[in-house]
């Protein structure tokens, strides 16, 4: 059984009259000690087979999909979808998921070897097809971890926006989807929307030949999940306003709009499947100001299994009003760190947007500031990527946009802007 713990980092002391409370929730799951106690799992591999995938990319995509199939544990139910302007389940032929064994893997890999690149791109239809496969499977296997891998190389051009929206909404909650964009013709914002909605990661793959290792790693990670559909359950007092609930580590993900009401004061926020891992959440609540000396619970945060109501762990975010500035003006280092990480991501995304809009001044200001924060907070990878977009004069610190930027670097910077780093060391006390 997976054990969960919750830790709360905050400064509960507020100056008199103050109302805004912040807390960082560190949620940790320790996986099963025995590797034999594995969870049921279902996996769908979705490969972009649109026309643009030809010229070698399709060949690497085939290899990657075959590597993923090879990485599946025996008994994991799986399927492979070929996606262009339509979605075709190329394995198995039954319309249901097939359990992985030697023969089914061979059959799947043969089907994958026959993939050809032609047609358009309609990712929403691919997702809907996968969602239907998972739904049918879930009827018999309610506790199975449901995971998909989606590979694309292009823009979602052959599906009207309303249809895409509907298909994405239809798929939400039915499975977790990790997304990969290969090459430089895909749109980060588009794929990020899929990853966010389906609670999965989004990464850029610069060279097609890197896909195979990446797919293997992704499938291994999926096989490491031990419990499906965990929710963050947040209670707030009647007169309070929940400002936001955000995942801040390992990546930024705003969950605020994903609430499912449990009762008038309590809501569930989906977090998907968990293996042995640590995630952090930033929660902000506005409460009615209390008297100096009074203490209030501003939020009660739990990890729950919504289907059973089982509570895995819980912790309090508190507020206590104080007239001692030494208490109330101190900012919790972890809250400060993740506030900085959120600012860094916004600066990068706004800076890149301004750059594409031709607003050099805004782009330079945003990206230059981002470079400073990245260095200070220890975002080494981000700092390196920023250096490919801007030059900083080491003497004056003045930032200047590079005239020529590799599109792949820009995509990498944008894609990875939501990846955060943990604090370099734990705060004292």
């Amino acid at each position: 059984m997976t054990d969960f713990t919750i830790r709360v980092d905050q400064n509960k002391y507020l100056p008199a009259g103050s109302q805004e409370v912040h807390g960082i929730i560190t949620a940790e799951a320790s996986g099963p000690v025995q590797s034999s106690s594995v969870a049921e799992a279902a996996e769908v591999i979705i490969i972009d087979t649109s026309g643009s995938m030809s010229y070698g990319k399709i060949n690497d995509a085939r290899k990657a999909a075959q590597a993923a199939v090879d990485t599946l544990r025996d008994g994991v139910h799986f399927a492979v979808i070929s996606g262009n302007h339509q979605a075709e389940v190329i394995f198995p032929g039954s319309g249901r998921l097939a359990p992985a064994d030697f023969q089914s893997r061979q059959a799947a890999k043969e089907a994958i070897a026959g993939l050809r690149a032609e047609g358009g791109t309609a990712m929403g239809r691919w997702l809907r097809r996968a969602a239907d496969l998972f739904s049918a499977h879930q009827a018999d296997h309610p506790d199975a971890i449901r995971h998909a891998i989606l590979l694309t190389d292009g823009k979602n051009e052959h599906e009207p926006a309303p249809e895409f929206d509907a298909n994405l909404a239809y798929s939400a909650g039915k499975f977790v989807c990790d997304c990969r964009g290969v090459g430089t013709d895909w749109v980060v914002a588009e794929v990020r929307r899929i990853g966010s909605t389906l609670l999965g990661s989004v990464m850029d793959v610069r060279r097609p030949e890197e896909l195979e290792a990446d797919f293997r790693a992704m499938t291994e990670a999926a096989m490491g999940k031990t419990v499906a559909d965990i929710a963050l359950r947040v209670w707030t007092p009647r007169a309070a306003t929940l400002n936001f609930v955000k995942q801040v580590s390992p990546t930024l993900e705003d969950l605020t709009g994903r609430r499912t009401d449990v009762d008038a004061l309590t809501g569930d926020y989906p977090t998907g499947a968990w293996g042995g891992e640590t995630r952090e959440y930033h929660i902000s609540v506005s409460v009615p100001a209390g008297n100096v000396g009074q203490e209030m619970r501003a939020a009660l945060v739990k990890l729950v299994q919504p289907s059973t109501g089982e509570v895995m762990a819980g912790g309090n975010i508190l507020a206590q009003w104080s007239d001692d500035p030494a208490q109330s003006t101190r900012i919790n280092p972890r809250v400060a760190h993740y506030t900085g990480q959120q600012e860094l991501a916004s600066l990068i995304q706004e800076g890149l947007q301004a750059r594409n809009d031709g607003d050099v001044e805004t782009a330079t200001a945003r990206l230059g500031k981002a470079r400073g924060i990245a260095e200070q907070a220890g975002n080494e990878e981000t700092a390196k990527l920023l250096d490919k977009v801007i030059d900083i004069d080491p003497a004056t610190g003045t930032a200047r946009l590079k005239r020529v930027v590799d599109k792949a670097d820009e995509i990498a910077l944008d894609t990875r802007s939501v990846r955060t780093v943990r604090m370099r060391k734990d705060p004292e006390s």
Binding site: A239, L265, G293, Q294, E295, M296, R297, A298, S322, D323
Partner: protein, 308 residues
């Protein structure tokens, strides 16, 4: 009460016993989680951890604000504004034959569990005084015995590996026209009336709050100051922790505030004044009135110290 340890002195006690055989602690007065509606929003939704499940407010513990009325006297204790808990404690008991016994103890904030130390000391001391008076001891002997056993109770509450819990002590026994005061530390007794006066001398380095005497395992042998006064005048004896006298040290000012009301109203007013003045510390005030008649019809000759 099932068999277990006395909450005051740690001595083993048996189920059904009303008082601890060793220290006299009243075993029936087990502190309990406050029940009832939320003090902030009124919802009947206070969880077992003390937070209201409707508005979130942490409910005051039994000691955040306490009032006692007994034997025509009153005592009020309040957490104040700055401290997260009330580390002061008090006891107020009728002492038989018209006597009144009051005790105020102030837990030392820098010691571990000061709230438990002060409560144990106040409970034990008041119970011992009442018992000793009933057994025929005079007030001074009863006071000394009370301080000795209260000090033992505080010392016994020390856990291995931690500093000693510690608290101050002041008590008053009022019987007829006699007032016996005992103290250790900087909690005070005042006479309020004609010629209002401070009756105690702080065990503290002058001008500071550095205690030179206290109850606790690290205090060595505790020798209380004990004094008896007689009065024929109307007025009141006031016991208080430094949460009050930090703001209002002058006897005349205290008398002007306290003397024209019932003890409970007066004690509440003094506590409120200390809170309005900043409330930096816990505040405890006990008031035992004298001569409830017209103040003008009695001659005032007080204080007169009988002995030390």
């Amino acid at each position: 009460m099932v068999s277990g340890a006395c909450p005051a002195c740690g001595t083993r006690v048996l189920a059904g016993e009303a008082f601890c055989e060793s220290c006299g602690h009243d075993l029936s007065s087990v502190p309990s989680v406050p029940a009832g509606p939320c003090t902030a929003c009124g919802a009947s939704a206070v969880g077992p951890d003390g937070y209201c499940e409707n508005c979130g407010m942490l409910q005051p513990t039994g000691r955040d604000h306490v009032e006692i009325e007994a034997a025509y006297s009153a005592a009020v204790s309040d957490r104040g504004l700055r401290h997260s808990r009330n580390e002061d404690a008090m006891a107020l008991l009728p002492g038989g034959q018209g006597a009144v016994v009051a005790v105020v103890c102030d837990g030392v904030s820098t010691s571990p569990r000061p709230d438990e130390a002060s409560q144990a000391a106040a409970d034990v001391a008041a119970a011992v005084i009442v018992k000793r008076l009933a057994d025929g001891d005079d007030a001074q002997a009863a006071t000394r015995e009370a301080v000795r056993l209260a000090a033992d109770a505080v010392a016994a509450s020390a856990a291995p590996g931690e500093d000693s819990p510690a608290c101050t002590y002041v008590s008053a026994i009022v019987h007829g026209r006699q007032v016996t005061i005992g103290w250790v530390g900087d909690s005070r007794a005042y006479w309020l009336g004609g010629q209002s006066a401070l009756l105690t001398e702080d065990d503290a380095t002058p001008g500071t709050h550095m205690l030179t005497a206290w109850l606790g395992a690290d205090a060595g042998e505790v020798v209380p100051h004990v004094r008896t006064f007689t009065t024929d005048g109307p007025g009141a004896v006031l016991l208080c922790s430094d949460g009050l006298w930090n703001y209002y040290p002058e006897p005349e000012a205290l008398a002007a505030t306290a003397l024209n009301d019932t003890p409970l109203v007066a004690a509440r007013r003094l506590v409120r004044l200390a809170i309005e003045a900043g409330g930096h510390d816990n505040i405890t005030v006990a008031i035992i009135p004298f001569g409830q008649g017209d103040r003008t019809d009695t001659t005032v000759a007080f204080p007169k110290e009988r002995s030390d």
